[in-house]
Assembly symmetry: C2
Homo-oligomer: 285 residues x 2
């Protein structure tokens, strides 16, 4: 049990984590930092928040376990701000969906106070964002990828994996670079494809979407996600994503050429490959 667990950024994930920590009684006190006063006031009215802080310095001084749950491009700036004020031994993790840049930059931050930063990526989310959609069940049974670098101390790593395990998540260890390449394919590419599909249909008169079936609805669902959040995620994982787009484009080109030349065997081959992989995706979940 932690004496004082802090969540920086009570959005969809941050608030869901706080709810789960509260329900499972994993911390004596739950502290929260939110940029806006309005959000801090909302937090104070809930069961899952004992204290709110206006400054990051205060959070740093009052925590033994910190989870940074803000957008990916703010994680390193926040870590830099809190580093000088952390108590020795404090464990810091995050929920950013990009890990290589965060984990390698984290190593460059002066660490006079002997804190431990170990990156995490809970594979739980929704196209809805914000505290109002948070729920502890969002995390339940989902995978949480933990990405220690070589310098990570075993005891700190154990505490981080144990934390996600306590929230009924399934922790998996992965190198940051391998994480980014895999996530580019299984999370970022699907998001991009859904967004581009939706964007490329923007000239259709709205009322005609009423004629669509479940296919269009499912295939575009994640395009409902916040453009600002995703612009930040995608731009931080550019190289692995560009590689995965190349692979997608390569298959799209083959499909288009087969259709233009009515090469039915090749069309069938690509659709069949898609069906086989889809079955593997379906089975794995």
């Amino acid at each position: 049990m932690y004496n004082s667990l802090s969540i920086i950024g009570p959005g969809l994930l941050g608030a869901s984590i706080a709810m789960s920590v509260y329900e499972k009684k994993l911390a004596k006190e739950i502290h929260l930092w939110a940029r806006s006063e309005h959000k801090r006031n909302l937090c104070l009215k809930t069961d899952w928040c004992d204290h709110v802080h206006e400054t990051l310095e205060h959070v740093a001084k009052n925590s033994d376990f910190i989870i940074i749950c803000t957008p990916v491009d703010t994680i390193i700036p926040i870590l830099k701000t809190i580093a000088p004020h952390l108590t020795p031994g404090t464990i810091v993790t995050d929920v950013g969906s990009v890990k290589e840049s965060i984990c390698s930059l984290a190593k460059t931050i002066p660490n006079n106070n002997h804190f431990h930063f170990i990156g995490s990526h809970p594979m739980a989310g929704s196209e809805k964002s914000g505290m109002e959609h948070a729920s502890s069940t969002l995390l339940k049974e989902a995978t949480c990828i933990v990405t220690p670098t070589e310098q990570a101390e075993t005891s700190a790593l154990e505490k981080v994996t144990q934390f996600w395990d306590n929230l009924e998540m399934q922790p998996v260890l992965m190198e940051p670079q391998i994480h980014d390449s895999l996530i580019a394919k299984i999370s970022h590419l699907p998001h991009i494809v859904a967004s581009i599909l939706a964007a490329s249909l923007s000239d259709i008169p709205t009322e005609q979407f009423a004629y669509s079936g479940g296919g269009l609805k499912d295939t575009t669902r994640v395009a409902g996600g916040s453009p600002s959040l995703w612009q930040s995620i995608i731009s931080q994982n550019a190289d692995p994503i560009l590689k995965s787009i190349d692979q997608f484009e390569h298959t799209l080109k083959a499909f288009k050429e087969s259709l233009a030349s009515q090469d039915l065997d090749n069309l069938h081959k690509i659709l069949n490959e898609g069906q086989l992989t889809r079955k593997a995706i379906e089975k794995s979940n």
Copy 2:
């Protein structure tokens, strides 16, 4: 009420229609034609089948309303086979998801027996195919696009739209060409994009899909559909689909270039356009 309503091809849609016709008591007798003896025997064991036929000629002679529910590339060959045996005034419709080629070829079939062919496309389906997944609720409240040509007689058209309305579907009239262009965008393109996304991920070790969230699952769902059925649908609607792929590729190219040059404003613009269109899709259903 029809004396004798026939369904040619009791697959997912055909069997769902038969079930609904039976539940709503829309016909005195429901006749079915299936290619395989095994399927015919299965049909005979159900409530929603009074007679099965081995030959299309028999179906033609014994029906006043016929719905052809076989794959799109077999609809015209079947219509040609039944045409010489139809009773004057018989109404024939289909459920093919491509309409221009079917409706214009249907006009060229000799019609000495004065039957009426009017194309239909019930916008109901699933990535599962086959009679075993059929259900009358599949059709309920879904749109059914009806595509009369200029020659269509008003009374026959009324009977077809009334039929779908009786199944609690929402009939909408559309020219065959307009139908094909719209469906290329809101049904065929999403299917192709989902299939290509899945196919382009075929090199990922199966067990790693366990780390994916709901995004990959939803975005690839329709790729589970039958490659043979979809190869046939897609190849019959090649031109409108190629146009919609061009539009998709254009947006993908802009996205890729913006990502490679870290043009965050443009990335945001495309993601935002995707989100807006996604919201319109969500609202319309």
